[in-house]
Amino acid sequence: MEQKRDDIVFSRRRFLKMAGTTCASLLITESLLSFPSSTSAAEEKFKKEVAEGENINDTLKRLFGSRKIEIANVDLKAPIIAENGAVIPITVISDLPMDKDNYVKKIYILVEGNLKPHIATIDLASVNGKAEFAMRIKMRKSSNVRAIVETNGGKLYGDIKPVKVTIGGCGGL
């Protein structure tokens, strides 16, 4: 019985000690982080660039005006979690026909979290035979990726997928 009590006392003592150390280390890290660092100039510039960067809604408005984008006929394949934001494989597949008169004319790739969301446009022709295109992209942070497909008739179809990025891909901050 006596032995057991000792155990409890010991564990409580140890717990308090551990808690104390953790708190102290947390405080230290925080204070270190709040110190002005040498990268503040770069940070300032980066913030300016962010300010100059485009919002996803502005991008959509600039590209498509008030045209309606239907969420159908397009499948965007992207990883749910990307370990490296510098290399994210994506595939855009559309089941829309690829005939002479009816084909997918353009594929737009937009990444909401990037400074410039509109990252790529791909022009296709009916000779492709299949509306599918794959490439690898960079993402700065976790965000939605959109693929918008435009047919030669001017109709817009799209798909949207969230991608979680654990390390950003544009370098720097």
């Binding site: 510098a86 791909i122 000779v127 035979g129 295109f133 794959a134 490439m135 960079k138």
Partner: protein, 111 residues
Amino acid sequence: MQEGIGEVKIRIPRTISKGEIIRVQALIKHPMETGLREDKETKEKIPAHYIHDVSIYYGDTMITHCDWTIAISTDPLITFYLKADRSAPLKIIWKDNKGGVYQETVQINPQ
């Protein structure tokens, strides 16, 4: 500067039957520098150096064209499809913002 910049690999199926829709993969060695990164030692910005234009020709007709920005990964790999209905060369041309032009041609010979 990365070694072997502009080195190209294009992969097509070994045998192609006429009218078949084939998958083509093309890889090019390129740093795709964003211009946002800085050198860890000198703290200087690394100037942007990226491919902004990819044109793919089947015979004389352009079948696919890409408009790219800095947000494409290093050593860009593209996968696209092609309806192989005739014997013709498949030519891919990459252009970067520093004026570099890289191109590669493979012959498509449907049986």
